[in-house]
Amino acid sequence: MDDELSVKIEVPAEIILLRPLDHFVRILLGQLPAFSGREQLINNIELAFDEAFTNIQRHAYRSQHKGPVTIEIKVGPHSLEFRFEDQGQSFDPSSVQPPDLDQPAEGGLGIWLMRQVMDEFHYHSEADGKNVLRLIKRFPQHDGDSA
């Protein structure tokens, strides 16, 4: 990815950071020409970001251990990438069942939503205990508010 803009944020996995972070992302994207007039695209990307951070806070660190989360946001001319790094509990996304949308449940939508609204979802754990989640969104090439 040809980086035009790269931001790195280190925060503790506390829920109080969710809204400041979401707003940071939303307001940054809102100023980029690629997102001009694409409110739905911004909403979807904010959602994916929100789900990723919430999952780390809730699952990787089990809502208690407020471990570190390192977030990188890279915006290139044709795509955007979020990279989340945590040092908590790892998991295997391929073993997570997609939700049965005919049986609405109180949870189990997060990973599925990230995959729905983003173009790429990558997760891996490293030997030193780091878990890395990467979400990529390619910008639509044509006019209109597709997502």
Partner: protein, 111 residues
């Protein structure tokens, strides 16, 4: 979040975001309301720009709790983001959703 009663109908007006920060509060408030049988509840999303999966979960839990005690729950004034999300998750087939408050309230009296 604001809770009021109007003509026997309880209205919960949610804030700008219905996310993981406030989802537990909504669930708790509704589970208290559901202690009474036949609660008529409208969740007014007029001020809510953004909902995430935790917010959806809280709405599903709320509907469950209310229906269990023979009440009913409607949703009013979804934002464009909420509409998109409800459609994506097919929750628009689960919730009764109204574009304005009046219609949501009337849907109780006419039933």
């Amino acid at each position: 979040m604001k809770i009021e009663e109007r003509d026997g109908i309880t209205i919960i007006t949610t804030d700008e975001r219905l996310d993981a920060v406030v989802a537990p509060q909504l669930k708790e408030a509704v589970s208290k309301l559901a202690e009474q049988a036949e609660t008529k509840l409208v969740i007014d999303l007029e001020h809510t720009r953004f909902i995430d999966s935790s917010g959806c979960g809280a709405l599903v839990a709320s509907l469950r709790a209310i229906i269990k005690s023979n009440g009913d729950m409607k949703i009013a004034n979804p934002s464009p983001q909420a509409k998109t999300l409800f459609q994506l998750t097919r929750l628009h087939r689960v919730f009764e959703i109204f574009d304005d408050m009046d219609a949501a309230v009337k849907s109780f009296t006419s039933s």
